[in-house]
Structure formats: C-alpha cells, structure tokens
C-alpha cells in the first residue's frame, strides 16, 4: 500500500464514520459534528493528493483546504446559531421532534 492509499483509506473511513453519525444520531449538534468530520475527510484527501500528486508547487490542494476550513468555520457558526434558535423556539434540539414547519 502506498502512503497515498493509506491516507485515502483513512479519509474514506473518516467520511464513513462521519456519515453514519450524521445519519443515525438524533441530536442536531451531533449531526453537525458528523458533517465537520466529513469535511475533514475531504480536506485530508485534498492534502494527500497535493502531497503525492504531480504538481505540489502549485499549492492548489493546500489553498483549497485553507478555504474549506474557512467555509467550515462559517458553516459551524451558522449551523450552531440555527440550532440555538430552534432550541429557543421549540425547546428541543432533537431532530425527530423538529419536523413540523408550523411554528
């Protein structure tokens, strides 16, 4: 197994774990954590391909990861603000109980 394949396998497993968590857990914050894990799996992929790819000096994957981190920060901020707003409104952050559009 080459190092690249090892990285990709780790990232695939990380993605699967994050996905399983996001799909199976009830709590909204845990879904968010799962999404963060999936994003990180993608970032790991990008870094691995930058490192072992043909043109590392172009820094494409590297910069992509930086931007993706900034996006993750924005996403987390907005997501958590939404969760808090929903909690304030419905007194729950359990996703099964937040399925009605009627407020």
């Amino acid at each position: 197994m080459t190092p690249l394949q090892a990285c990709l396998l780790i990232s695939a497993l990380l993605f699967a774990i994050g996905f399983a968590g996001a799909v199976t857990r009830r709590h909204a914050i845990l879904v968010l954590i799962g999404i963060e894990l999936m994003l990180n799996a993608a970032n790991l992929n990008l870094i691995a391909f930058w490192r072992f790819g043909p043109h590392p000096e172009a820094l494409t994957g590297f910069i992509f990861v930086l931007f993706s981190m900034a996006m993750a920060g924005a996403e987390a901020a907005v997501g958590l603000a939404l969760i808090i707003a929903i909690y304030r409104h419905k007194k729950t952050s359990n996703l099964d109980e937040v399925k009605e559009l009627k407020g």
Binding site: M1, T2, P3, L4, Q5, A6, L9, I10, A12, L13, L14, F15, A16, I17, F19, A20, G21, V23, T24, R25, R26, H27, I29, L30, I33, G34, E36, L37, N40, N43, L44, I47, R51, F52, G53, P56, E57, L59, F62, I63, V65, L66, F67, M69, A70, M71, G73, A74, E75, A76, A77, V78, L80, A81, I83, I84, A85, R88, L95, D96
Partner: protein
C-alpha cells in the same frame, strides 16, 4: 509507511468513532477535538505544517469551543434517557458501510494512484502567502465576504427577538 503515521491515523479514527457513538454530547465534542488534533498531526506528517496548525487553531481552538457552548446553551450536557439513534439507523449504518466499501475498493484498485512517492514539497508561509495574494486572490476575497456574511447571519439568527415582539407573543399566549 512510518509507524507514527499509522498510530495517528488510528487515534484520529478512534476519536471520530467515539465522537459519533458516545451518549454524552460533551464527551462527543471532546472526542471530536481529539479527532481534529489527529487530523492536524496527519497534515504535519504530510508536510503541510501551515494547514496543520490552522486546523488546530480553527477546529480545536474555535469550532470545538463553539460546539461545546452550543451544547451547554441547548441544555444537552447530560446523557439522554431515550434512544440517541434515529428510527432508521440500521439503514444509515448500511449506507455508510456501502460508501466505505466502495471508496476503499476504488482506492485500492485505482490505476490513477501514482506508485512512487515524490519528494516533500516546500510550502513555506511565504509561498502560501504569495499564492493567496496572486493566483487565489479572488477566492480569498470571496471567502472574506462569505465569512462576514456568515458572521452577521449567525448573529441575527441567534439574536433574541426584540422585546416588543416577544411581549406581544407573551400577550398572545395569555
């Protein structure tokens, strides 16, 4: 394959698995911080130090803390008595297992994977800065805009409804 790489990978995956499976949400958040630290260590071993430290700064220093705050603000610090899983969790696990098998199969059998390891690239802060200020200057600006928008949006969403509105709501309830 250096052993340290494998250890970090295992720590990362264990952290992620615990983050997704523990009952207590605060434990989940802390396990997530472990997973992120592991990913940062992986980045360091892939010669991407800048990204590694940015990962710790952003994920462990900011997002983990943010999530912990959200957990405490939504009063979910205690482990729930009810089931923590959704009704269709079996299907979810099955789908994610399928995703992993497919990805793993593709990774192991792909012909596009280069066989030899290239020498470590240099990604000094200066190079990154130059790239950000020349080639990627437009994405950088857009990211700045997105972050500002996200910040304002988050503040507006999380802000309490103004007192007049809540007063009328109270009146309505009575």
């Amino acid at each position: 394959m250096p052993p340290f790489f494998i250890i970090t990978g295992i720590v990362t995956l264990l952290g992620a698995a615990f983050a997704m499976s523990l009952r207590n949400l605060v434990h989940c958040a802390l396990a997530m911080a472990v997973a992120f630290s592991g990913i940062a260590a992986l980045y360091l071993q892939l010669d991407a130090q800048f990204v590694g430290f940015a990962e710790i700064l952003v994920y462990v220093g900011a997002i983990a803390i943010l999530i912990v705050f959200a957990i405490l603000l939504t009063r979910s610090g205690e482990a729930p008595e009810k089931s923590v899983l959704t009704s269709g969790w079996m299907a979810g696990i099955a789908v994610s297992a399928m995703v992993f098998t497919m990805l793993g199969w593709a990774v192991l059998n792909s012909s596009a994977i280069p066989k030899e390891t290239p020498p470590a690239p240099v990604a000094t802060v200066k190079n990154v800065g130059d790239a950000l200020m020349t080639k990627f200057v437009l994405p950088l600006e857009i990211i700045g805009l997105v972050l500002t928008a996200a910040m304002i949006g988050a503040v507006i969403i999380a802000l309490k409804e103004d007192s007049q509105k809540s007063k009328s709501e109270d009146g309505g309830q009575q």
